[in-house]
């Protein structure tokens, strides 16, 4: 056995070559679009670019202006309210529906289809329909009034202090079906024996869900959370379709601020500064999670 000479280690770059070639689109997207685009955006947020990107640096001016703009502050506040409630309600409603669906019910397919179909519709459509239903002159308010409760008021889209909840109603309608689906898949993945053990232990159904099943569905909840959260940060279409940010600026959201200032106000610098703030928020939430979930763990 004298093969030492020909034991040359082949070039590491060439190993797994096909895989690398096949991943080029992914690498390009990740590096050029997501990473490059992000850096580019951050970079230009320190300039006073207007309609077109321009390299005149103005330091932190854009950020100072951003954080003193009432509209930005309202946007942030709205996003926080919308985010918290939409997380809570999506998870709660989604889980409740999934739990109901998991009771070996009849017509499961029908119910599931009903809960999930809004997911196939765009936010534009969703916004439109709910704008129509919530319109005080035609919608629920007028119907209830015509039934005799003439002082009944339900005009969330026209009341600045509650308009964000009006948007929430539509968002939940559109999104909870998917959450329900994910939760249902998670519930179905739970070992039957756990249920049996809990029954033998005499634990009531709701306690079993609360103390045993939900904690066991951590992974599902995290996946769901990520999906919902990414939707929340990006919320835009729905607001545009339902209220265009109104009344006044009561239902503005950060993504809309970015868009409006980049394109309508033709102040790219300001838009980029707002983008950067959003990216930072996202990064603070996501990067630790993504690292834990995908970076640190080796495949077993």
């Amino acid at each position: 056995m004298t093969g030492h000479a020909n034991a040359g280690r082949p070039n590491q770059l060439l190993r797994n070559l096909h895989s690398k070639i096949a991943s080029i689109p992914m690498i390009l997207t990740a590096v050029v679009i997501f990473l490059g685009g992000t850096l580019w955006t951050v970079f230009y947020s320190f300039t006073n670019s207007k309609l077109l990107p321009r390299l005149t640096f103005v330091g932190l001016d854009q950020y100072e202006r951003l954080w003193s703009a009432p509209r930005w502050l309202i946007s942030i506040q709205n996003l926080a309210i919308y985010g918290v409630f939409s997380l809570i309600f999506s998870l709660v409603i989604g889980f409740l529906l999934a739990a109901l669906m998991d009771q070996k019910i009849r017509f499961e397919n029908t119910f599931r289809t009903i809960f999930l179909y809004p997911f196939a519709l765009s936010f534009i459509v969703t916004g439109l329909v709910w704008q129509w239903i919530l319109n005080p002159e035609f919608g629920i308010q007028s119907v209830v009034r015509s039934l005799g409760w003439s002082t009944f008021t339900f005009d969330p889209l026209y009341n600045p202090s509650i308009v964000i909840y009006g948007i929430l109603i539509a968002a939940l309608w559109q999104g909870t079906g998917l959450v329900m689906c994910l939760m249902l898949a998670g519930l179905r993945g739970i070992d039957e024996d756990i249920w049996k053990a809990a029954r033998v232990d005499g634990i009531p159904m709701w306690k079993t869900y609360l103390f045993i099943i939900i904690p066991m569905m951590r992974a599902v909840f995290i996946t769901t959370l990520v999906i919902i959260a990414s939707g929340i940060v990006r919320v835009y279409d729905l607001v545009v379709a339902q209220t265009s940010g109104g009344p006044g600026i009561a239902s503005e959201v950060p993504a809309k601020y970015v868009y409006d200032y980049m394109f309508q106000a033709q102040n790219l610098g300001q838009g980029f500064a707002a983008s950067t703030m959003m990216l930072i928020t996202v990064a603070i939430i996501i990067v630790p999670w993504a690292y834990l979930e995908f970076g640190g763990r080796k495949r077993g």
Binding site: N16, H18, T29, V31, W132, W173, V233, A255, G295
Partner: protein, 310 residues
């Protein structure tokens, strides 16, 4: 509890043994439990169905009837005129051909975009699951974080990239954009799915002499129907429903149906023609809805296979 039972213990005779309940425990159809479960489900179903009902009912009414009032009342007189108008004669600017033109554009955009984005994402997922190379995880992490970036933020950089590539405004450019923005979630789905397939299968194929592509096409693809269905539904709905990219990255001859919908809905001629708007809305949503209704069952299965394991 054990004590209570042993207290009640009696020296039972065989006759006594035979007494007592026997057979199936009676479970009435209208038990409080069932009433609660089905009550809740039906209530929820009503909430989810209400908008669809309103859309359909409204689209079948004439404008006078709508103005008179109740959006929930069924149409007194069914008219299909709003549908016809929405489809073929609603105007935007000078073009009065309704949604019909946008429909075919949407088809032209959706089909290749769906195919390309799924093809690329599935290969990514496959490479990440089975052929990991150094740094692959880093790119993947960037990709996932990218899923959170608001589209609006990325428009400008992408405009520049496409301009430099000379693809701005072309269908190819739009397909690329859809592929880029579909990539994070789809790659995640496919990666999770392929990871959940037994690794030994992959090893066996390698021992059999199959390479990267042979394994992908001959071994992995045929096993991946559920996840492809999920990806297809996500992409078809996503791309079909897209408005922003369709309008920013193409020129009018490619404008998808949603742009037409937006135009119809936002071009107010006097009063809003709610019936036409609703008809247009349903027509625009019809394709994803049909796709979903047809393959919804596989969707749930695929979600279970690809999304939940994370």
């Amino acid at each position: 509890m054990a004590d209570t039972i042993s207290l009640k213990t009696t020296a039972a005779t065989a006759g006594q043994l035979a007494a007592g309940p026997r057979g199936k425990k009676p479970r009435p159809m209208f038990s409080p439990r069932n009433i609660m479960i089905y009550g809740a489900l039906i209530f929820a179903a009503a909430y989810y169905l209400l908008p669809l009902y309103v859309m359909v009912v409204t689209s079948l009414k004439g404008m006078p009837e709508i103005r008179l009032g109740n959006i929930f009342s069924p149409p007194l007189e069914i008219t299909f005129e709003p549908w016809v108008k929405a489809w073929s004669s609603a105007c935007t600017g000078l073009n009065c051909d309704g949604l019909s033109r946008g429909f075919w554009n949407s088809v032209r955009i959706t089909i290749p975009s769906t195919i390309v984005s799924i093809a690329i994402a599935s290969i990514n997922g496959y490479a990440l699951a089975n052929w990991r190379f150094k740094g692959a995880d880093l790119f993947f992490t960037i990709l996932i974080v990218g899923a959170f970036i608001p589209y609006q933020v990325m428009i400008y950089p992408i405009v520049i990239v496409l301009r430099e590539m000379g693809l701005y405004g072309s269908l190819t450019g739009l397909i690329i954009v859809h592929t880029i923005f579909g990539m994070p979630i789809l790659t995640l789905l496919f990666r999770n799915y392929f990871t959940s397939l037994p690794e030994e299968l992959f090893k066996a194929a390698r021992v059999d002499g199959a390479g990267f592509w042979t394994i992908y096409f001959r071994i992995m693809l045929p096993m991946s129907l559920p996840i492809f269905v999920v990806a297809m539904i996500l992409q078809v709905t996503g791309i079909w429903n897209d408005f922003l990219f369709g309008v920013v990255f193409t020129r009018p001859e490619y404008y998808p149906m949603t742009v037409q919908l937006n135009n119809i809905v936002n071009s107010v001629q006097g009063v809003k023609e709610y019936n036409v708007n609703m008809a247009a809305t349903i027509l625009t949503g019809a394709v994803p809805l049909i796709v979903y209704f047809v393959s919804g069952r596989l969707f749930v299965r695929g979600i279970a296979a690809g999304a939940v394991k994370g």
